[in-house]
Amino acid sequence: MEFKYGEKEEKLRTEIREFVKAEMPPHFIGKQFEDETSAEGWAFSMSMSKKLAEKGWLTMSWPEEFGGMGASHWERVVFSEEASYWGIPGLGMGISGTAWVGPSLMLFGTREQQEKYIPPIAAGEPDGIWCTGYSEPDAGSDMAAMQTTAIRDGDEYVINGQKVWTSCAHWARWLWLACRTNPDAPKKHQGLSLIIVDMQSEGLTVRPLENYVGGHVFNELFFKDLRVPVENLVGVENAGWSQLMTALSFERGTAVGTTAAARRMLDELVIYTKATGQIKQPQVRQKLAELAIDIQAARLMANEAVWKTVQGQTVIHEPSRDKANGDILQEKLGRIGSDIIGVYSQMDLGLEDNRWSRLKGAFEHLYHYNIGFAIAAGTTDTQRNIVGQFGLQLPRAY
């Protein structure tokens, strides 16, 4: 048993902090979803993305042959903690590429696909920005119900249908598309495939889905007789479900980051309440203490899941446990923080610096965006279903 990181990891942590001090605006507070709304925000993210790539950090866990550093799990953890604590941009919006497109291509892609698509991702270039098309209007938590089709026609697939909740589609160069290549398969989990789509293709319409607080993260994609060459198929035709599940498991392993972000928010609240004097109020003290407990526990659980992976144990329900727990924690944090900021918590989210916002609007943002987070990548209840079924071996409840 040992509850501390090794020297290598602590050295990396120091390097990252030096990087933060040198490259980031002082007292920057990151947001839960990166700023994909404004062109300025996007440009800042892209510039940081490039710098992170130069440090090798953007894809540090990749094998060296694909431009990575072959970093250990624990180095990844420390990087993820620091990146989230300091709110380093340029990671979130490229996440499709670095987190699951790249690794999936390494596992399932052809050599040609690997050579073409992986280097721009590792370099943090605009051509390495991907979006991901899984969800459909009638296939949300029940992903296997997807109906977008890609029908083989000679050397091409002809794609028709619709995707929704596609984040980053308004900035991405490529689309990582899950769709139905055999509409006649007897079961809905069969007949699915993963296909790469050029975002500049004819037959593709991107419609922004602005959220209720004026942010632009999600989009709808409409496909009308969009044609892609058959070499854009990833892996085996009609066997996409298991590849998709593999890719999803990459996506779920992110509780380390959200926990570190929460830690930063708590630190900010402590300093803020010391400045306003609110920290002397017993009910404020109790709330801060409760958050500290929950955050520390979340961090320990996130690390437990990593440790299991390091040990070669199969991690099944833990990421779902941590996602559901993180959703609840963020809701609590957003609410407590907004309550502490009080009347100032009603500010527009888009305005970081004005004389009425407190803590650069971080808590308004969390308050409204945590709902989006609870819905994204498997709702809180979906995660609970997974934990119940696979972690507790209870009968399926959905």
Binding site: D138, G140, W165, Y212, Q346, D348, W356, I371, T380, Y398
Partner: protein, 390 residues
Amino acid sequence: MDYTIGKEQEMLRKSAREFFEKECPKDKVRELKSEPKAYDAKMWKKMVKLGFQGLIIPEAYGGMDGDFVELALFMEEVGRNIVPMPYYATIALCALPLIAYGNDEQKENYLPGIAEKGDIWTLARTEAQADNSPSEIQLSAVADGDEYLLNGTKIFVPYAHVANMMLVAGRTSEGDDPPKGITLFAVDPKSEGVKIEIIPTVARDGRCEVVFENVRVAQAAILGQIDRGWEILDEIQQQGALLKAAEMSGGAQAAFEITLNYTKERKQFDKPIGSYQGVQFRLVDMLTSLDSLKYLVYNGAWQVSVGEPSRLLNSSAKAKANEVYDDICHHGIYLHGAIGWTEEMDIGLYHLRTRSMIYDCGGTDLHLESIACELENDVPDFIKLYGPAS
């Protein structure tokens, strides 16, 4: 004990509901976010014709002489349709204290303007400390001959930018006891030295910063007595909390209904999502909290209408409203899934207003403390019967 909504009350409710549904559909609510006025002047005028602004104003001053229960029912409808307009600012925060504390001249000067012309009023109260306590009031009001000179800054003042008049809370005497030395003035926002800037809130609901720089007001502008303004502010806060709770109750009911209907239609894994206990139990608990809020508001409003206002109920209603409105909007969006988070669905429009409404006339901590004071000072029945515990 009678929970009946009377015939006239029901008619009022129905006419308000139909009016707002017709005149302020949700797309209008969306549009008004980018309209700096943050309300629809035409609709406001139509409301005057229907007598809505005059609802609680005595007949003698051009009003309908309605009672407080009717006003609460009306606010429920306003909240139900989240109608952006200066009604709450004008009526709850200003007309009520004008009726209660204005002298004859003030009433004659001001009330008919509200009831018959749709004059807009607002209350400039909140300052940087922003906790609805007496010590928050720091704007200085210094006597200068027959006049007072106002200097200071008020924030989150609703609809100051379109107001015809405003009530301003200032400090006329310094001292150790914060409630003492506060005075309310009726001030024309077009007076020299008044600077108004719209604060960019997430709901774009017409909140303003109002800076007073050597603004001169006459002694006749004082509402009630000099240095005794806290009494009035406290009553505004009491009744305002209740009416805001009514508005939030109506809003939460509507947000709930939207959500409930959605869970009956939306299917996942071949079943409506409302058939999963995880979803259904949330909805059931929401219903209970909605009913709780609704009846706390009705009971509180009834107490005011019979002249026996209850601090306990006023604060209970507002504290409950703060909890319930937030909870129903938050979980309402969640239960919609991703679509609920877009600006295309109505549910988000409700949640845009949560944070501002929570602080109108007092946040939760303030009202819990107020309830605790009532409990502390009350003599419970068992002590009355048995005498002090041994």
